[in-house]
Structure formats: structure tokens, C-alpha cells
Amino acid sequence: MKDIATIIFRLTISCLLAGLVMGAAFVFTNKAKLHNAEQREQQVMLGLLGYSAAAPAPETLALHPLHRYIVTSGETSAIGYLVPVKGREQAGAVFVEISLDGAFLGQQPVSLAAGQAAEAGARDAAIAAALGAGKSLRYADQTIIVTEAGKRRAYLLSGEFPGFKTFIDVVLALDPAFTVLGLEIMEHEEDPGLGGEIVQGYFKNQFQGKTFEALKKLGVVKTPLPEEYRRALEPAKGGEAISPEEIARVQALYQDKDIYALTGATISSRAVTSGVKAIAGKFAYRLAILDKVLAEQHIAVPF
């Protein structure tokens, strides 16, 4: 009996100590971690659009976040979009509800203070207040619509799908015709050296330039990656420099080809390919419905 008490007591103390250490580490590091992640995301997004420190983005470039929610009232669910309003992006937004088969259900103005739209907690509370009681709200995802001088330039889609081990977080950039501009892997836990190679240019850059039509029937092949294609996919690596014209020529050559799988990581390669296809396909479908509703209801948006 005495042993039971000692064991329970000591294990409890150990767990409490471990919890204390981990909790303290979390409190001290979380802010810096979030800050890093946010900065990286900004960098990645501009990088996917082709901007860097050397080639900064023009002043007229604007990023408009579009938040998607799932609204449930009783038995029926609907999709809700938080859409910024043209002319007063900083202050207000409209929450547009669309039924699952694409019909317009209603719109509510949502009052958001400056910067509140970026904070998940404040944003959810503001929308819930605008919707009123009886409806429950669940956050789905966020899309960023990039405009340059008022015209749509690109879509930045954050998405997540299961990989070989856990979820893979990606940002996918599409142009207005849904052709892939670029793919960036944000977070993954694939095996280092095998599935982990999805972050390498010679894999992820294969998606660049795939049109929406090509994407629909995109597959994965297990043949070796041709050397000239690898050089064009990773121009920064390797000895001799290749001209942009040469890269464009090789890219065009392989544009309609399937994705070349990574050696020893077919499952990861397939997971990324089908994930990208799903993200792009669903987004194109949803955007068409949203655009139709916005046009029918004469809701002025900045994108």
C-alpha cells in the first residue's frame, strides 16, 4: 500500500514538474515563434508572386484576405464568406451566406476595428454578433486575393492535406486563370532525406506553370527526373548558369507532363500532387459561386 502511494506521489510530482518546464518554455517562446511564422508566411507569399528584397512589390499591390466559415443553424449548413467592402477595407466587412447548392441566403454587415480582421478571436466574435443567436460558426480557411492596381493578379491559397506521416501545410499561388504560379511547403513531418525532399526545388517547382486543365488530370510517374528539367527547376543550384529563356523553354516542354515522383517517397509525392489538385479544384468551384453571388447582389468588393 505504501508503495502505491509513493509511486503515485512521485509520478504526479514528475508530471507536474515536466508540465511546469514545458509550460514555461511555451510562454516564453510562443510569441517569438508566431512572429517568425507570420514573417515567413509574408515572405513566402511575396516570393511566390515573384517579389523579393531585390525586386520589391509595387505600391499598387494589395492583399485582400477572404475568410471562409461554415454556418450551421439547426440541421442545415451553409457557407459564409467574410468579404471586405470596397473603399473602407480597414473598417468594415460583409458576411455573405451562401447555401451548399450555391444560392444566396443573406448578408450582414460586420463591424471590425482596424486590424481586428486578422485576429481570429475578435473576428469570430464580431461575425457571431452580426449573425445573431441560433447560428453556430466554424472557421474553415483563408484565401488571399492579390490585386495590382485594382485588377486581380493572383490567389494565394493556404491548405493542408495528409502526407505520409502527418499533415503537410502548403501555400499555393494561382493566377486568375487558375494556372499554378508556385507552391511552397510551409510545414511537414515527412522522413528527412526521403519524403522530406518535397521542399526541394526539383520537386515543388514541377507544379509551376501547370494549367487548370492539366492539373485536373495530373498524375505521378515513377520515371527518373530528366536532367535538363532538374536544371531548369533548380537554376540556383549546379555549376553553370542557365539563361531565363532556356528555363522557359524546358518548362514549356514539360508543362503537360505528370509529376516525377521522388525516389523512395512515392506516397509523399502522390499526397502532395493530389493535395494540390484538390486545393485548386475546390477553390475554383467556390470562387465561381462567390463571384456570381457578389455580382447578383451588387456587393462591391476591392478585388
Binding site: 509511486i7 509520478l11 518554455a25 525516389t263 523512395g264
Partner: protein, 205 residues
């Protein structure tokens, strides 16, 4: 029971006599799966070094308070705590390094070498001795991983640290997981052969 070795001997012991990969044959999963390049081996080695030192010291400090029947849960808890803390600290303050090391750090929770060192060494010895033993084991593991990575990267990809050395790929299968077993076996034999030669030379003299 205290060890009679000096601190330097403890470190050397971890690298040579009791090398985690080639002598103790522990932590074979990372040795086979991840040692595909020198850089991978180095990254994992650094991460293991830190976790091993921190866990060894923690257990050495609290060794009299750990109930002998519940050693294993306590060890696991200790290792998991340090892995989590190191993961969080790296992510917050060294984002550049974390981008490359992040996937390695989380794997360490399940490494046999760390639990085994806590069980065999840290729970009997002083904090100082455990610290140096941890350093030795960490360096030994790093050495083993880098040696494996060197062979596999050179033979499989024809590169060293990402630089193209050979200009062609001699045997691609060396980077695949199963070749890890060949590599570990061959190198284990190689090191045993050197030791044997060394002993014979000593006897002959």
C-alpha cells in the same frame, strides 16, 4: 557506485569504445533511415547531443527521488520534456536552423540510445560524470551518423555536403533505407577490423 574514469575518458568512451551506433548498436532507426547525407547526420547529432546532456543531468540530479519500479516512465517523461523545450526554443530564436532541423528534433523522443544511457549511467553516477558521458554519447552518435552519411552520400549521390564531388551517381540504392543496413553492417565490420589489427599489433610488440 561512481565511475573511476576521468571526464576526458568518459567523452572518448562515448565516441570509440561504446559508440552508440557501431558498438552498442542502438538507435538503428535513425542510423538506417536518416543518415543519407553528411548534413542530415550532423543536424540529428547536434539535436541528440543536447537532449542527451540535458536528460542525463536531470536524471543524475533526481536519481535518489526516482522510485526504482517506475524508472522508465520517468525517463520517457524527462526526454519528452527536453525534446519539446528544445523544439520550442529553436523555433522561436533560431528559425533559420529550425527550418532545417525541425523535422529531426521531434524524432528524438523515441531514440533508444538516450533511454539506455539514463538507465545504464545517469541513474547511478554523479551529475558531472553524467554530463561528460552525455557529451561523449552525443558526439559518438554524431560521429557515427556523419560517417554513415559520408559513405552513403558519396556512393549514392556522388556529393559531399551537397557539393558535387564525383560528378555522377555511382550507386543510387545507397540513399534508400535498406542500404542503411548494408552500410551499418559494413562499417561495423570495418571498425572491428581496425580494432583487431590494433590489438594484434599491440600484442606483437
Amino acid at each position: 557506485m561512481a565511475t573511476d574514469k576521468t571526464n576526458l575518458q568518459l567523452v572518448v568512451n562515448g565516441i570509440l569504445n561504446e559508440n552508440p551506433i557501431f558498438r552498442l548498436v542502438l538507435s538503428m532507426c535513425p542510423a538506417v533511415g536518416i543518415s543519407t547525407t553528411v548534413m542530415n547526420g550532423f543536424m540529428l547529432g547536434i539535436a541528440v547531443l543536447f537532449v542527451q546532456v540535458f536528460s542525463s543531468c536531470t536524471i543524475a540530479i533526481f536519481k535518489n527521488k526516482i522510485h526504482p519500479r517506475i524508472r522508465i516512465p520517468t525517463y520517457t517523461l524527462t526526454i519528452a520534456t527536453w525534446v519539446t523545450v528544445i523544439d520550442m526554443v529553436l523555433a522561436a530564436y533560431l528559425p533559420e536552423a529550425y527550418a532545417r532541423m525541425g523535422i529531426f528534433v521531434k524524432l528524438i523522443v523515441a531514440f533508444a540510445i538516450i533511454t539506455m544511457r539514463l538507465e545504464m549511467f545517469a541513474c547511478k553516477e554523479s551529475v558531472t560524470a553524467s554530463f561528460w558521458d552525455g557529451i561523449g554519447m552525443g558526439l559518438g552518435f554524431m560521429f557515427g551518423m556523419m560517417a554513415l552519411g559520408f559513405v552513403r552520400e558519396l556512393l549514392g549521390l556522388g556529393t559531399i555536403l551537397g557539393y558535387d564531388v564525383l560528378g555522377f551517381k555511382p550507386l543510387l540504392f545507397f540513399v534508400l533505407p535498406f542500404a542503411g543496413f548494408f552500410c551499418v553492417g559494413l562499417m561495423m565490420g570495418f571498425f572491428n577490423w581496425i580494432e583487431l589489427r590494433y590489438k594484434r599489433a599491440k600484442q606483437g610488440a
